[in-house]
Symmetry: C3
Subunit: 282 residues, 3 copies
């Protein structure tokens, strides 16, 4: 049977040798394993973004793929190191620190096991006193053993209750008589687009459709920081360059962008529970 | 027969989950396909740079390699999605938006086909209303089907006239009695070097040779922004550190650099038709 | 026999087409070769960092792996292009410009050969006058031929004395009656941590142990730029967020960090011989 691929995401960047050492460990376990860069540019220490990026990309991969996510501000503390088995057929090797938030809620987790460090931690003379690089010594190593078939999923370590998995709160949007309200729950840090937590389904239920001109307000805490009439279009270039527009993003959430521009930078906006967006019905 | 490799270049960066989702689609079409990162750091929306980078690297790859280029400011508009077959034996899967400029002029395109979305677009329950991610849903998917042999080149979709391919204007240098003039047509954004459109061949025809000291002027529009006597050397470290020099770049175009420095930053220069460079004969 | 992997590290970045062209050359020599990105984001022209990153990651790879390191400020000058065979079973293809410093000192080099350009340089009609891209035309090409088995190690070119390999000076820490002194020899440019040249072994010999509160001073040249009492912990999150702490890094050297922060940026610190760190015994 074909060995599953390993898709890695971390906040290490490629600026130094950490990714290289981690991948070396994988290849030393089993030369034939296939390693894919998911991303190594997650925002530092940001387990919310780690969770979101898994949610955004996971379902496009073949079943059985093993995701290794290492955003690990609590490395060396009592936070659990785990491998989750998702209801849609994937594995996630990760610190149990909120990284499983979206997967647990939207895809479901059937089982979770704590990595047994006595068995599944890399043993070398020179790493017994190293407590700060679990990407190399624990997550990468354990994931490689699992992908290679050296250990079964059960041999990862003892199971614990899925209910005990640490998660962040996911805020839900609200539909009112005259408007729909949500928050920007993430951005596209490259193009500067902002993605709300309002689903396409809710947006349609609220009565909005492509071509609508929509009165839109954005609040940072209690301060109104944006107020304009915007078009809701199917794609960017329907609107003129440099106009702000509303669109349905790649995972069916309502988003905002500046055409051939950068909404976050040009309007000084960001994401998080403090950034509320309101779309008014006609 | 061995399946061709897929070399990707986009302006997505690795900052979020887009590349990961796109590669997941490729691997879901055919696990055995080999994916190579060309680059995911093309300047945003810049189809000129996309075109130039294909031109710079393509011929070093094995014949048959499939390049997937997704710099796509017009995603979701009427711009064509196409697969071009080059005269030198490669395929390019790309929006038809200027990305084929240099390949068409310097390598030649034998045939171009518009991707038939009814056949070669990824079909999932959750992407029917997504119009903004053709890298994942169209280009990556179609390229994977072509590489895998699921479709032939003819099955990409209907052919259209190579003459109708959208291209940017490529400016040519001029040789005068006393000088040669060109523009900086691209930069090396990492080292800050500027690459002119003057070929080594023209430069030699104009009488220049290694070791020459050359009176050099740079104009931004009508303003002279640089005026100095520079040496033309075969490689960087022949000149002293921090001196500006002229050299023959990796694709035989005349270029300028600061030795162990950054010409663009230190002299506030950039590329494009507004940046004219003049080398005076003795 | 399985062909060795090629692990690349350069200062090229992925911002333009250089890495793509270089990898195309490798795949044109032998399609079956496996290419791994070590990093392409080494600091520009910085052969010290190139050396350090090899040292940090090399031993985690399977024996026989071929490392290709191209930080090459002297490209086109008389600096040698070489392939070193290390005492611990790896190959390094690199300009002989200081990149082998740490490997030579800490792992040992058994043999070094100068690349014979008459045999192991890529020959194309359009690169005979290109002198500035040895990553593509020489190092990548020669490494691919070696990995593929087209040439033996002996056929790389003539051996020269290991003693003649160019190296940077590595500074050693000093233990005094009341303190241990070293320098910051490298940083973690992503998280902003600073890694000293003081080994865990020396630190323990000086009497320090986890949990100690240590009077710590940092000097930039003769100026004291940091003076505080810091805890020495096994891992980051033992200390409160935003506190400065001392820890044992991933290669058993004593390092400093701001918990969920960035020491270099927040305290305006850097690495190099000018940055001296002093830990006082109780």
């Amino acid at each position: 049977m074909e060995k599953p691929m390993l898709v890695f995401q971390t906040d290490f960047t490629y600026k130094e040798g950490a990714v290289c050492a981690m991948y070396g460990v994988v290849k030393s376990v089993d030369r034939s394993l296939e390693i894919i860069d998911g991303t190594h540019e997650l925002p530092q220490y940001d387990t919310w973004s780690a969770s979101y990026r898994l949610y955004q990309s996971m379902s496009f991969w073949p079943k059985g793929t093993i995701f290794v996510s290492v955003v690990d501000p609590g490395v060396g503390t009592s936070r659990k190191a785990c491998v989750a088995k998702t209801s849609n057929g994937y594995y996630v090797v990760t610190p149990d620190n909120g990284t499983l938030t979206h997967i647990k809620k939207y895809m479901g987790i059937d089982e979770v096991r704590e990595i047994d460090e006595t068995v599944n931690r890399l043993k070398r003379d020179d790493n017994t006193e190293v407590a700060i690089f679990h990407g190399r010594d624990l997550f990468g190593y354990c994931a490689a053993r699992l992908a290679s078939g050296i250990i079964t999923y059960e041999e990862v370590g003892p199971a614990y209750s899925v209910e005990k998995i640490k998660t962040h709160e996911i805020l839900e949007p609200h539909i009112y008589d005259d408007r729909i309200e949500g928050i920007f729950e993430i951005n596209d840090p490259n193009f500067g687009n902002l993605w709300s937590n309002i689903t396409l389904k809710s947006f349609k239920e609220a009565g909005f459709k492509f071509g609508d001109k929509i009165h839109t307000e954005i609040y940072h805490k209690d301060e109104k920081v944006f107020d304009d009439e915007l078009y809701y279009y199917q794609s960017f270039s329907t609107a003129a360059n440099h106009t702000v527009m509303i669109y349905n993003n790649e995972i069916n959430k309502i988003a905002m962008a500046v055409v051939i521009g950068n909404l976050c930078k040009e309007y000084n906006l960001d994401f998080g529970p403090d950034y509320r967006v309101v779309f008014y019905k006609k």
